[in-house]
């Protein structure tokens, strides 16, 4: 009789098992964080959105207008890692950038280099520029515009998307 309450039939408190969802596979979260989305089908299509092209890249009339990036450049720019995640590309139907005064002068520099290349005698010109400005003032977009101008004129583009990569301790170094 004394053992009555210690039998297997006595009350047991069941452990609750929580259904935890599986964590996403390795690398998935980072991939989501770094994903570059260049188009949004919910955004309205903008009628008459002109593209930035070799003829209008140095046109002062275009200051203050937003010009699209040609579709065939997008893969090149993506491969060169020219787009950044902070740049609002996912809000619009297709990527476009604002033409500022500085953009037009950039286009003028590109034009000068092309002209100097065609005048073989004088030697080709090289434009060297440091871009500065406060946070979010459009410096990386300025570089992106320079790159799209270079691609559409058949130049070779070498891009360093983040200078800090070459300076942090994460990667191999040899003497």
């Amino acid at each position: 009789m004394q053992n009555k309450f210690r039998e297997a039939r006595s009350a047991k408190i069941k452990k609750k098992t929580k259904d935890r969802p599986r964590p996403p596979p390795i690398g998935e979260r980072k991939a989501q964080r770094k994903r570059i989305v260049l188009s949004n089908t919910n955004a309205l299509e903008i009628a008459g959105l002109e593209d930035l092209n070799p003829t209008n890249m140095a046109d002062t009339e275009k200051i203050g207008q937003v010009l699209g990036i040609q579709g065939d450049l997008l893969d090149n720019l993506r491969d060169a890692k020219a787009f950044k995640t902070t740049q609002n590309w996912n809000m619009f139907r297709r990527p476009a950038t604002l033409v500022r005064e500085e953009t037009v002068s950039l286009g003028q520099h590109v034009r000068d280099v092309i002209d100097s290349q065609q005048n073989q005698g004088l030697g080709a010109k090289v434009a060297r520029q440091v871009v500065s400005g406060e946070r979010a003032s459009g410096k990386s977009i300025h570089l992106l515009q320079a790159m799209s101008m270079a691609y559409m004129n058949g130049w070779i583009v070498i891009n360093v998307p983040e200078g800090q990569w070459l300076q942090l301790i994460h990667v191999s170094v040899m003497c």
């Binding site: 520029q129 058949g154 070779i156 891009n159």
Partner: protein, 274 residues
């Protein structure tokens, strides 16, 4: 001097994939070093891919490729111009986290690739970029280490553009008794053609264009009047484009909401209607 095999390999891979169409048309003209093995009729693309796929070959590949790109174009061999774009260049103007075998800090300019690209940005030479092109480097605003020597360099570039002579008392110089970074300051003497572009806030015209685009894209729901343009410029620190994009692309698109979130009174016309 140090080399960075993996990073060089990544740079070659970005270059090979993004310029595929152009590089595939360019034939090798010079002789390859013995350790790089490519078949006959190799193109610059296959050379770049060799380095992109194997980091141990990346540095010799980069050197060979750079020599090839700088071969002067002639009737037989076309060689296009080159654009070099560098973002967050300020990280290259100071000490790194790396240590040498003697446990001394390594300066960023002691890395071969960084040194090479910085030289292209600041110094002209006859043999390099023979077919013209552009070297453009942007500093970083949000992730910028404190580097007084770089600040002086940028101020010196600005002063030169404004026509201030180096002998002028107002020409920016390092503080007396400070220890400026000579690797950075000496860059100024290397060239007189590097220009400084300082990006400021957007003008009214540019602001209107940008807001117009936001409105046409369906995310900015105000009608764009002179008042709204002025308000948005004011709210975004005088037309700082990134800040304006944040305000302009918020779903409500209502100026009064932004003003109240910034702790400012709503514009008078809306206060009357509310």
């Amino acid at each position: 001097m140090y080399i960075q095999p993996h990073l060089t390999s990544e740079l070659l891979s970005r270059m090979a994939y993004s310029n595929q169409a152009v590089l595939k048309k360019l034939k090798l003209v010079g002789k390859l070093p013995a350790d790089l093995k490519l078949g006959n009729n190799a193109t610059l693309h296959s050379l770049a891919m060799l380095g992109a796929e194997n980091h141990t070959l990346a540095w010799p590949v980069w050197q060979t490729l750079w020599k090839e790109l700088n071969t002067r174009a002639d009737s037989k061999n076309a060689r296009p111009s080159v654009l070099i774009a560098i973002d967050s260049v300020n990280h290259w103007m100071g000490p790194t986290k790396y240590r040498s075998a003697e446990y001394n800090t390594i300066h960023a300019q002691q890395f071969n690739m960084i040194k090479h690209l910085t030289r292209l940005l600041f110094a002209q030479s006859e043999d390099e970029l023979a077919n013209g092109g552009m070297v453009i480097a942007a500093t970083s605003g949000s992730n910028s280490p404190s580097l007084p020597s770089l600040d002086i360099l940028l101020r010196q570039l600005a002063a030169r553009a404004a026509g201030t002579a180096m002998t002028d008392p107002n020409f920016p110089m390092p503080q007396p008794y400070s220890k400026p970074d000579q690797r950075v300051l000496s860059l100024f003497k290397d060239t007189d053609e590097t220009t400084l572009t300082t990006l400021k806030g957007l003008s009214r015209l540019e602001t209107r264009g940008l807001l117009d685009y936001f409105a046409k894209g369906g995310i900015f729901k105000e009608s764009i009047t002179d008042t709204v343009v002025g308000q948005m410029r004011g709210l975004s620190g005088g037309g700082i484009v990134g800040e304006m994009a944040k305000f302009g692309t918020r779903t409500s698109g209502n100026v009064a909401v932004h003003l109240s979130s910034a702790g400012l009174p709503a514009p008078s016309s809306e206060r009357i209607t509310a």
